[in-house]
């Protein structure tokens, strides 16, 4: 049972938002569908607020914490200074606890220590975006390398496969070597295609001649020339002689 738009019947999932009704297939084809809604820049995810417009690392002043380091660039120096001031503040705190635990200076010292530590963390957090950017870049480079490797392997496999197939095709479609020429002594001459021609002549003479005769006339003369060349009497009897006898018989039968 489908839940209808607008009425939320029992369904574990919420309905799509109201503005989804504006995007029908027809309207999209027309081009009259509205542009996609703007992405939110402030939202809550799992209870945590995200404000994409803010700086990546919120400056300390927003958290009402005093900024103790003076120069952001001398990171090393500032870190060392903060480290030592933390130890000093701890000493002072212990001294005050020894001498006068109730003194208001105790609270001050505790706040100082608190501030120092927050500053130290803040200094490190400033480098987090840099680290993130770098790791994305390195990830990209690694992906590119992987893709390159895959491409190369694939190409070599393809080449091997193609080679195998081409070899197979050569075996099937390759031409047989021509028959060896008979030596001069036997006075036998090879004749190319004679049998084929004669077979065709027999076929023609067996089929109806009216339609084909006209087309075949020029071809007939050619064939006759070939046959004359081949049936000369100045050589040993050839296949031609034997077959022309058969041909004559066919013609005689008609």
């Amino acid at each position: 049972m489908l839940p209808g738009f607008g009425t939320q019947t029992v369904s574990p999932f919420p309905n799509p938002p109201e503005y989804a009704t504006a995007y029908t297939s027809d309207r999209i084809d027309n081009g009259s569908a509205p542009p996609p809604p703007q992405a939110l820049t402030e939202f809550k995810v799992f209870g945590e607020e995200y404000r994409l417009g803010d700086d990546v690392i919120a400056p300390l002043k927003d958290a009402n914490v005093e900024e103790l380091y003076k120069n952001k660039n001398n990171w090393k120096e500032e870190m060392k200074k903060l480290n030592r001031s933390a130890i000093c503040a701890f000493f002072d705190l212990v001294e005050i606890l020894i001498r006068a635990p109730d003194h208001p200076l105790r609270e001050e010292k505790m706040i100082d220590l608190h501030t120092i530590f927050i500053n130290m963390h803040h200094l490190i957090n400033e480098f987090r975006p840099v680290q993130a950017r770098d790791s994305v870049r390195i990830l990209q480079e690694r992906q590119i390398e992987e893709l390159g490797e895959i491409c190369d392997n694939f190409r070599s496999y393809l080449a091997d496969g193609k080679e195998v197939i081409e070899d197979q095709f050569k075996l099937v479609t390759g031409k047989l070597p021509p028959p060896p020429q008979p030596s001069e002594l036997s006075k036998v001459r090879l004749q190319d295609g004679v049998l084929h021609e004669l077979i065709e002549r027999i076929k023609i003479s067996e089929e109806e001649e009216d339609v084909e005769m006209k087309e075949e006339e020029s071809e007939e003369t050619k064939r006759r020339k070939v046959l004359e060349d081949l049936t000369r009497e100045d050589g040993p009897p050839s296949v031609v002689h034997l077959l022309t006898r058969q041909l004559h018989e066919f013609e005689l039968k008609k």
């Binding site: 660039n73 990171w75 090393k76 870190m79 060392k80 480290n83 030592r84 933390a86 130890i87 701890f90 705190l93 212990v94 606890l97 220590l113 530590f117 130290m120 963390h121 490190i124 480098f127 987090r128 840099v130 680290q131 950017r133 770098d134 994305v136 870049r137 990209q140 480079e141 992906q143 590119i144 893709l147 390159g148 895959i150 491409c151 694939f154 190409r155 496999y157 393809l158 496969g161 193609k162 197939i165 197979q168």
Partner: protein, 133 residues
């Protein structure tokens, strides 16, 4: 093994917790004492020395670690533009590689289809050339 930044932050947290624990434990386990004089028992308190040593050690570790870490991240502090350009460049290179791979896949598909057709041809001929029974 967490990355260097996280390691440093962990060390800072460790030092802070050592400080708080030191004061807390010493105060909780302290024996009764008189005003003005320092009793022998107080002097013999072992936790004092232990905590003092640990706090000093952790402070030193932080200093050493920050020197080590500093040698790498800080050079990147000014290279935002370069890194972004490099990323865009990498993006285009990756697109090209993907196109290449797609082309290869198409070729291989053709090859596979040729092989399949030949195989079916062969099998057909084999079947038809069997002697009739």
């Amino acid at each position: 093994m967490a990355d260097r930044m996280t390691q440093l932050q962990d060390m800072i947290n460790e030092m802070a917790s050592l400080m708080t624990n030191a004061i807390g434990v010493l105060q909780a386990t302290a024996p009764p004492c008189e005003f003005g004089t320092i009793s022998q028992e107080l002097e013999d308190e072992p936790n004092c020395a232990i905590f003092a040593a640990s706090i000093a050690k952790s402070a030193k570790n932080i200093e050493v670690a920050s020197i080590l870490i500093d040698s790498f991240p800080i050079e990147a502090g000014n290279m935002e533009q370069e890194v972004e350009e490099k990323m865009l460049e990498n993006n285009t290179i990756q697109g090209e590689k993907v196109k290449e791979l797609k082309g290869l896949v198409v070729e291989s598909k053709d090859l596979v289809s040729i092989v399949q057709s030949k195989l079916s041809e062969i099998s057909n001929i084999q079947m038809t050339s069997r002697p009739n029974e």
